[in-house]
Each structure stands twice: as structure tokens, then as C-alpha cells.
Symmetry: C2
Subunit: 555 residues, 2 copies
Amino acid sequence: MSSERLIYLPLGGAGEIGMNTYVYGYGRPGKERLIVVDLGVAFPDMDSSPGVDLILPDITWLKERRDRIEAIFITHAHEDHVGAVAHTYQDLEAPIFARTFTANIARRKMGEHGHPEDAVQTVGPWPHQQGAGPFQVGFLPISHSIPESSAMVIDTPQGRVIHSGDFKIDLTPGVGEPFDPALWEDVCKDGVKALVCDSTNVFSTHPGRSEASVGPEIEKLVSSASGMVVATTFASNVARVKTLAEAGERAGRSIVLLGRAMKRMVEASAETGVMTDFPGTIPPEEARNIPRENLMLLVTGSQGERRAASAQLARGKYQGIEMKEGDLFLFSSKTIPGNERGVIRIINQFSEMGVDVVDDSSGLYHVSGHANRPDLETLHDIVKPQVLIPMHGEHRHLREHVKVADAKGMKGVLAVNGMMIDLSGNKPKVAEWVETGRTYLDGSVQVGALDGVVRDRIRMALNGHVTVTVIVDEEDEPLGDPWVDMMGLPEIGTSNAPLMDVLEEDLSQWLGRANAKTLRDDDAMHNGLKKVVRQSAQNEIGKKPEVTVVVSRLS
Amino acid sequence: MSSERLIYLPLGGAGEIGMNTYVYGYGRPGKERLIVVDLGVAFPDMDSSPGVDLILPDITWLKERRDRIEAIFITHAHEDHVGAVAHTYQDLEAPIFARTFTANIARRKMGEHGHPEDAVQTVGPWPHQQGAGPFQVGFLPISHSIPESSAMVIDTPQGRVIHSGDFKIDLTPGVGEPFDPALWEDVCKDGVKALVCDSTNVFSTHPGRSEASVGPEIEKLVSSASGMVVATTFASNVARVKTLAEAGERAGRSIVLLGRAMKRMVEASAETGVMTDFPGTIPPEEARNIPRENLMLLVTGSQGERRAASAQLARGKYQGIEMKEGDLFLFSSKTIPGNERGVIRIINQFSEMGVDVVDDSSGLYHVSGHANRPDLETLHDIVKPQVLIPMHGEHRHLREHVKVADAKGMKGVLAVNGMMIDLSGNKPKVAEWVETGRTYLDGSVQVGALDGVVRDRIRMALNGHVTVTVIVDEEDEPLGDPWVDMMGLPEIGTSNAPLMDVLEEDLSQWLGRANAKTLRDDDAMHNGLKKVVRQSAQNEIGKKPEVTVVVSRLS
């Protein structure tokens, strides 16, 4: 047996929904030539990552092996697959390959970050194959909720691996290529070593519905509306955006696109030719002169994002347009778990305006972009891999998908982020554990999720903050009284005295009792003063704040 | 027409799910005698109320009219109806009336806060009526997911008002009284002026299911499990807790109750006689000696609460008990919108342990405690009120419920918190707008939601915090260099220098250029130094932190 091996290593996306980043390698252990499939982001939330702008995969392992990276392949243009391309470019500097539409989006990102746009190379779909060291990689079209989504056909000296990317089985996707069973059967006919497979909807037991099924329902709804109609969906779901626009056009409405992503995606689809015949649109300025029953707005913000068009309309005017009683707002989208609060906030704001809101609870106006369990099984049955490795899922999804695989006689392998799997030979095994994690884009700086920066912010959010200032003179004696500044704490405690006064009094007493040795010792001073504040606050307000102690020595 | 009027004023619960607090009054305007129905809490979240322990209604309006409050009536023992009773007792000091089980729970709360338990008086169900100034109030049994839930029959000189409380139409609720249509018809036969009605499930268009329907499914699931079974539900849903325990007992399992609320609720149900024949339980210590296939735990934490038993089991051991591969965890509950992240976290932790998790997605193991739209209409049809006032709902629920009422020829009135409705005469009208809001229990202190305390904490969570210390000598000259302490900010900025050094350097330069007038002026110093920090940080890390400036003057 060869001493070379074929490895699979997820750095993001296996054990979470988001920041998909998968590595394949071939060569002698520790010398493998590498390719990366997808470089995505995840989104922060107030619970675990307040103030953070984006979550990137920790790519330390890749950086340290930069000279071994042959290429980066992007399956499709969703943020959780392409979003980190520009943020990681300087660290990896490998050529990036994608199909036309995806490449268009990736190049825009590179441009915005001042990186060379030609680092992104456009490649055609299967049967074209792109060489990358020991690999030959093809983009095999597969249907999803964005144009030109592709599975990666990764040919290696040890056989063919198929990385599904995100997908559903859709024979009538509206925009983009329908799933083509014959083509897939042909690609898989000589045997597939491993299928690395989307797991998002493994718990959905009914067969998925086609994108085409929502058109008639949306048309019925829009044509029966009497006021202005505003609809939101993921901007990148250009098939849906087109369906919505066409429904508006047929109802005699002028179409307005609101929100940066909405305009960008429609533009990119037109530029790359993946979408033709999109209805004409008018700019928001013109909309003001058109009767509202002749208007339809397509807006960003299906997840209730505070700064998106939908949330701004819910709070008042956006670009001169205002919603009114009798208007209709349609969520042609599903709320991603965790975003419920933001979405519900908007719905209630619209309710206060007298706007009727239609969401996805009826199931009529949205279909998922991911394969449900029966459709996953359809793909399994076509590909017939020796090994099935679930990806794109939380642990519960991966585990369930392994069960499905095992029940069908495939060998299922549960590989989470950082678990390097050796696919050589007939029995996949864990080759190594790689340290992985999350990197936060925080303002303009990248910080490690475990660096403590965000942890400290969470602590201040929970406990408030107190600054204690003490001046110590040349003889190591306190000069005047200690001084307290508070942020995020109540002014009055249970003793009914101002909290600040109580803290300052307790600090003064402690300082008065402190001996010369303590007064000379910065650590002792910090710890002592901090302890007094926390204990005193606990008594007064039932809370131990975060404390910054500043001891200024005149000596 | 009399110069006396009948008023309805929601102070909490109308325009939100939570902190139900409704006021009724009768008398001359401004002199009405008042009763309060329910005094509930809402729960904080990291997005809008980090660090807060509980959210209470703002009862300022009631406090200012304390001498006019005749009584407080509690419909049932859920936290969003009874949770604020002890926290507001000192401000209101009115007698509290409740039925046996609710009174038991309320008294425990009073005791925990050192208030007299006999402030809570037990009253029997309808036809008993409790006098309260101009009102006669009866507790009319209605089915819900907790024992002895009751509607309030409020007889006033201007007619009968029915306040539904939380309810569903359940003829077989397991524990507690079945809904009794004949009794309700009798109570309503002489005409009802207004029905103030639960709106929670107005968007659910299918008829609700009885509590009795989950029993057989739970029994099937538990009897087929091979490892330990752990189930969670709201502890106060004692019918469900009993169903779960009985399923365990029938499967030959010993029952263990874990979590304070679980034990308290089972105890209260037994003490008050609302539940009989609860299977025997064993303490957690004994459980360790019993084979896991003979154990069933009933635990708190159905909403993923971090400190509850379920979350602790998901992280590791709890009271010496540990879950293992092959065990089963059952959520016999629905995730309340906003709690998804916490619940999903637990499910994935269990998945990592190899524990199978069954949630409510099948609809088999949980039924709602609230009336769906058809059941709301059943109650409307029995009560036949002149006016329907939706409550217990967000704005969207209230608005939809008004639409349902109007479609049936009742007069629907949309009244949100603070909207005082005059129910006198034939046409209800808005009498007054009362300022309402939320009060945060923050540690041991109550602070107003708009006091800025929590806003400052959120800002620190988003932006981090910087302390700047400057010492100014007797001649108003800076003594030494300014000093920076940071919390929740990255150490290194885009210039690759330590952020602290950059800030201190920029502050020094500013101080060096500051003129004598600025140096003498505390406000100018604060504003100037703060501005430097924010601008400098914006350049370095793309973020403007919160800043505390301490200028210590030796003069």
C-alpha cells in the first residue's frame, strides 16, 4: 500500500450551520497537497458574540501550511460559503476557482477589500476539470436556492470524492440548472469513494418541494392585495426574487428593489446571464409618484436584521417610502433559528401601522433550499458512495445523517470540525485532531473567539462596570479619597444611599486600614480595592460588577 | 346617565406575551375604586436586557393610587401572572385573592421575600363571589396547562365582565377541572358586557388538542426506550408531569424529580389536593444504584435555561446523575420564540453524548395550553359579549383577535398597555393614556427600563470600554502621561502596535496641545479626551468604545 494518503478535514461547518470550510489533502502524511472547498462566515448574536461583525473560521492550520495549498474552490455564492474569501486572502493567497455567478460575487468582495479581483478565476461546469496538484476538480451542477450551485467532483489518485455543497433535488428551480439525475448517474457510475453531504434538513421527513411551487401562490396573494405590497426573501435567492417581481408585474405593479444586497444580486444575475427577463424596476424616488396599489417593493431583511430595509420600513420611512394601513408585507422566507426575536419585532411594528403581515406559517410562500431526508436518500442512491460523511449541520444533524447512512448500508462517518479523516484504504479512520475555532471580525480587527475580548464585553453587559481611581503620593500614602465611576449600574442601592457614595466610603475605610506594605504593592492594591467594590456592590445591589482599578503613583 | 364609569386598563400583557397586569375600576372619573387582575413577570434576554433577573410591569400608576386598590386577584399560578406578587407587595399592600393551588404558590413567594403569607387569601370557585368595593368577583374554572386556572367573573354596577385568564377548551385535562360548557352558558346567560380574552394562539387555525391526547404517545415512547429516559416540561404543567411519571412507572421505571421548580410544583399539587395518585419518587442519591433502563428523570429547563437541570445534564453531571449513549431525552414542551438558541445548544450537547433527543416537531408529545382560533370562537359563542377586548398577546395577536371578533359581529377593541378604556354605555372609548413600561429587577434593585442602566451595559457589550486617567497638578498642568485601561477590546489594532500605546500617545499629544483654559475646565477635558479615544480607536480597530475619563486634580 502506498504511503500516501487522502485526507478530509472540516475547519468549519461540521458541527454548526455556518462558516463552511473543508480541506482535502493528498500526499505523504504531513506533506499532503491541499485544496480548500468553501471559505464561509457565520453571523454573530448578542448572546455569545456582542459587538462582533462577522465570524470567520480559524484558519491557523491552513496559514501554517500555506505553501501546500493548491487552490480554493467555492461551491456557491452564499455568505456561509464565500463570505470569508476576502478576509482570508492575505493569509492564504491561493488561487480561487468558481463558476461565473459565484466568481462575480467573490470578485466584488475582493474589490471591496482592495484585493486583486483576478485572484478569482472562472471555471466552467462539468465535464470541465480544473487541475490542482494531485486533484482534478469539477463543478457538477446541483439545484439550490442560488444560481450555479455546484457539487465538487474531486478526483484523487485514490478515487473519486463528491462534495455535495448545499443542495436540494429540484427539477424546476426557476433560475439556475435543474437537478439532472442522468448526469449525476453518469458521473457516479464507476464508483464513488466518499460522498461528503449537506445535512441541514435531515430531520425533515417529507419530500421537499420545488421552487416552482411557490409562484402560483405568490401570484394569487399579490393580485388580491389592495394596498402596497412589500416582500422580503434572501436576496441571493434570485429565482424567488424573480418570481416575486413577476407576480408584481402581472398585477400591474411597478417593482422597486430596496437594500444593497437586493440590487447587487439582481445586478450580478443579469451581468452573468444566469437570469434573463427580470421585470423592469424603478428607483425609489419615482415610487413616490405612483399610487401605492401599483407598487411592489422587494426588500432585504428577511431575518429581521436591524439595519436592513425591512426593519427600517418597520420603524418608519426608508428612502422616502412609508408603509401604511392596508399594505401587505410578505415574508417569502423562513426565520433561521435564533432570529425569531428580530422578525417578531418587525411583525409587531407593522401590526401597529395596520399593515397585514403574511409569513411562512402556511407553507405556501417559501420552500427550503436544502434536501429533506427523502431527497438526501435520493442522492445517496444515485451516488452510492462507499463512505458517507455528513457536513453542513450541527452535531445533531450530522449524527442523524450518519444513522440514515448506516441504515442504508453505507458507512457513515461523523466528522466534526478539526477531525482529520484518513480516507485511504477501505476503512476511514481519524488521522489527527486539529485545533479549530472561530475568529471574530470585530470592527476592523480579527480576534480569536477565546482571546477573552468578547468574554469581557459579555461580563460588562451582565454585571456593569466600576472604575476605581486612587492616587498615592511620594511617601506611598493615599492622596485624598478614592474615586468611583460607574457604568451600567443603578444609582441607588438597597440602603437607599447613592451606590457611588457607599462604594467610595467602603474603599476609603479599606485604604485607611491598609498597611504600608499593601500600599506599596500594586497587585495587593488592585486586588484589595476590587474585592471591596465587588463585596460592597453585592450587598447594595445584589451584583458584582467588573472593576478597573487605577492606582496613580506620584513617585 | 350616571357620572360613574367602568374602566379597563392593561398595565402589562397587552402588546406582549408576559407580565400580565390588568386593572378594572368603577366610580367617578379619577376616583374609581380599583381591582387588579394578575401581577406577572416577563423574562429578560441578552439582546435587550442583559444581566437583568426579571422584568416587572411598571406599576407607578397603581402606586400613586394605592388607597383606591380594593384587591388583587390572581387567575392562575404561572409566573407571567403571579410572578410579581411579592416584588410589588410593599408598593401596593392590597389583599391578594386566589384559589387554593395558586394561593399556595403565591404564599411561597411571599414567604421567600419575608412578606406576610396571610396577605394571600384563598377563595373557592364560582358560585362563590368575593366582594371588592363596587365589584363582586368570582373564580370561574377554565382549563389551562396548570391546575385551577380561572376566568374572573367581574360583576359591576354596569354589568358583568368576564376576564378569561389563560385558557384552552379541554374536556379531558388530566389534572384540574375540565372545561364545563353548561356552567359557562349559565354564567353568561343574562348577557355579558365585555369579554377580555386570551389571544396567544389566535393564529393557530386548527382546533386545539386535549391534554389527554399526549398520554398514549408518551407511554409508547417511554416503554420502547432502552436506556435512561429524561423528560422535561414546564413544572407547573402538573398534568403533564403526572402523565410522564405514570408512563415511567408503567414501564417499570423509578421516578426522580430534578430541579427546584419540579419538586415545588409536585409538592404544591399534593398539598392542595389538586393532584392525587402521583407515582412514588426516589431521591437522586438512590438513583445511582438503579440500572439506567429502570430510571426516568423529570427535569426542569424545557426552555434551555442555562442553570436548569436539563442544561446541567447536557453539560455533564447533575446531582450525581450523568446521561450516556443510548439514553433518551424528551422535550414534552414547545420552545417559546426567542429561546431557540438555548434549546438547540442542549440538543447538540446531548447529541455529542450519543443521547437521542425527541422534541415536539412531531406534535405527538406536547399540546398547547392556549385556545386556538376555533376554540377562541367557541368561547366567544358561549359568552356572546357586547364587546371583545383581546389581551395576552403581542400587537399582532391582539389585532388579529379584533378581526376575528369583528367578523363575528362583536365589537372588538384593540387596547394595548396604558390604554384606559371606558366601558360605560354602549360604545367603549379610550378614556386616557397612562404611561406604562417595564421595571427591571437587576440583582436586588429595581430599575426603570429606560433609566439608561441597561442601555449603558448593552453599549459596553457592543463597543468595549476604555478608562482614561489624567492627573493635573496644582498649576493645572498635566502630571505625567495619561493612562489607559481597556476592557473588551483587542490588544492590537490595524497599525500592528498595541492599541493601548496608540491611545496613550494620541492622548498625550492632545494634552500637550491643550491650552490653559481647557486644562482648567473639567467638562472640556472629559469631552476632549473622550473624543480622542473614540477617534483613535475608530482608526485602529474600527470601533468607538465607551469611555470613562477620570481627571484627578491635586489642587
